[in-house]
């Protein structure tokens, strides 16, 4: 069914010998310059707000971080909705694609909190993530706290 494409999508079927239409590329270059500008702003900002060589930042790193994330989302918007043409698709398709990523928000919040929780554990017990299973069990318990634990312990003796 070759007519399928023509009827249902904004596709034109090729007719041999047809005239080639004039290019319509203005919007492409517009998006390109927006993305270029955003990247230049990001890099310039990273240079200007540098804390190296004993200088101080004029904006705190937290604020800088959120500015960068916002600018990244701006670029992502232009790539997805303009270059990938999602902005011109039907509304139900736009929703199908973009709503799916909502799960990521929850995932990000969850895992960032997890990271801080792990940091707190690490700061409290510096060897928590490096000691082995054996070390956990060989750790001095209430009864034999003075006992040295090292090569002297055989596996069976430990507990």
């Amino acid at each position: 069914m070759s007519g399928f494409h023509m009827d249902n999508y904004h596709q034109h079927t090729y007719v041999p010998g047809q005239e080639i239409a004039k290019p319509n590329t203005r919007w492409i270059w517009k998006v390109f310059f927006i993305m270029l500008l955003v990247t230049i702003v990001e890099v310039g900002f990273a240079f200007a707000n540098d804390a190296g060589m004993g200088q101080t930042r004029f904006i705190s790193f937290t604020v800088q971080k959120w500015i960068f994330i916002a600018l990244t989302l701006v670029k992502a918007y232009y790539i997805i909705f303009s270059f990938m043409h999602l902005g011109h698709e039907r509304f139900n398709f736009k929703l199908t694609i973009s709503l799916t990523t909502v799960f990521l928000v929850y995932f990000i919040v969850l895992m960032m909190m997890e990271g801080y929780a792990l940091r707190d554990v690490k700061l409290k017990e510096p060897d928590f993530f490096t000691r082995t299973y054996k070390d956990h069990h060989a750790a001095p318990a209430a009864g034999h706290g003075d006992e040295a634990h090292g090569e002297a312990h055989s596996d069976g003796h430990a507990h």
């Binding site: 070759s2 494409h5 009827d7 249902n8 999508y9 904004h10 596709q11 034109h12 079927t13 090729y14 041999p16 047809q18 080639i20 239409a21 290019p23 319509n24 590329t25 492409i28 390109f32 993305m35 270029l36 990247t39 990001e42 890099v43 990273a46 240079f47 540098d50 190296g52 960068f68 994330i69 600018l71 990244t72 670029k75 992502a76 790539i79 997805i80 270059f83 990938m84 011109h88 698709e89 039907r90 139900n92 398709f93 199908t96 694609i97 799916t100 990523t101 990521l104 995932f107 990000i108 895992m111 960032m112 997890e114 990271g115 801080y116 792990l118 940091r119 690490k122 700061l123 090569e151």
Partner: protein, 242 residues
């Protein structure tokens, strides 16, 4: 509008006979694949953030310490080279969208031209990434002294250079591991994008698009290529800017 003329009422689009999303099956499936790929990359970047939050008193390298080389110079300019890489990839994204636009007009010559430029951009990017990896793995001239426990269980001081999966002279080991994994995974996507572009180019040169009556294959490859560019935008932010 773009909506099909055969759709008479909103309720009937799911009743069969028309494409409810008004996109072809192949394009829709490419989008669904890209969504799943987006979740993979998100998981990687999110775990990078988690480990960075966890790092606490470990030194997390900042890009101006690690990625400050520029080809053919000895100058140390932070972000310069990676900004150039970003520019190359955005540029190749533009040439890709120009190829898709030319395909809509059945302008075969223009499609070939823009696809070739896209492939060149992709290859330049891959080369830049290889160069970046080479410098990260080789490390600085002086290296760094670290204390490690040898096989006999005795602590000794050794000098390490650069980064790999076992040591990282710049700071936290996790930084090196995530860098290799995420940029490597992204690089493999760029590579498959280049391969797909070459396939599309051969199909166009063969006159296949005129025979089947549309340039949709170029459009699908374009979606993939833009996605690779999109991922790089995020990698650039989280690895090099923050």
């Amino acid at each position: 509008m773009a909506d099909s003329t055969s759709v008479t009422s909103k309720g009937s689009i799911w009743g069969g006979g028309v494409a409810p999303f008004n996109v072809s099956y192949g394009k829709m499936m490419m989008w669904f694949f890209l969504i799943s790929d987006a979740f993979t990359f998100s998981s990687l970047l999110i775990s990078y953030g988690t480990m960075r939050n966890k790092a606490a008193n470990e030194h997390w390298p900042s890009p101006d310490e690690v990625f400050n080389h520029f080809p053919f110079t000895d100058a140390h300019i932070k972000l310069a080279f990676v900004s150039l890489m970003t520019f190359i990839l955005i540029m190749s994204s533009v040439t890709m969208v120009l190829a898709v636009e030319a395909g809509h007009r059945f302008d075969k010559k223009a499609v070939v031209k823009w696809l070739v430029l896209t492939i060149i951009g992709g290859l330049f990017f891959l080369g830049s990434q290889a160069w970046e990896w080479y410098h990260f793995i080789t490390g600085t001239h002086d290296g760094k002294l670290v204390e490690v426990m040898n096989e006999q269980g005795v602590w000794e001081t050794i000098r390490i250079y650069g980064a790999n999966m076992h040591h990282n002279e710049y700071g936290a080991q996790q930084f090196a591991n995530f860098f290799f994994f995420i940029t490597g995974f992204h690089g493999s996507h760029v590579f498959s994008g280049v391969v797909l572009n070459v396939i599309a180019l051969l199909m166009v040169l063969n006159g296949r698009m005129e025979r089947i009556g549309h340039y949709e294959f170029v459009e699908k490859v374009g979606l993939y290529w833009h996605f690779v560019d999109l991922v790089w935008v995020f990698v650039f932010t989280f690895f090099y800017l923050l």
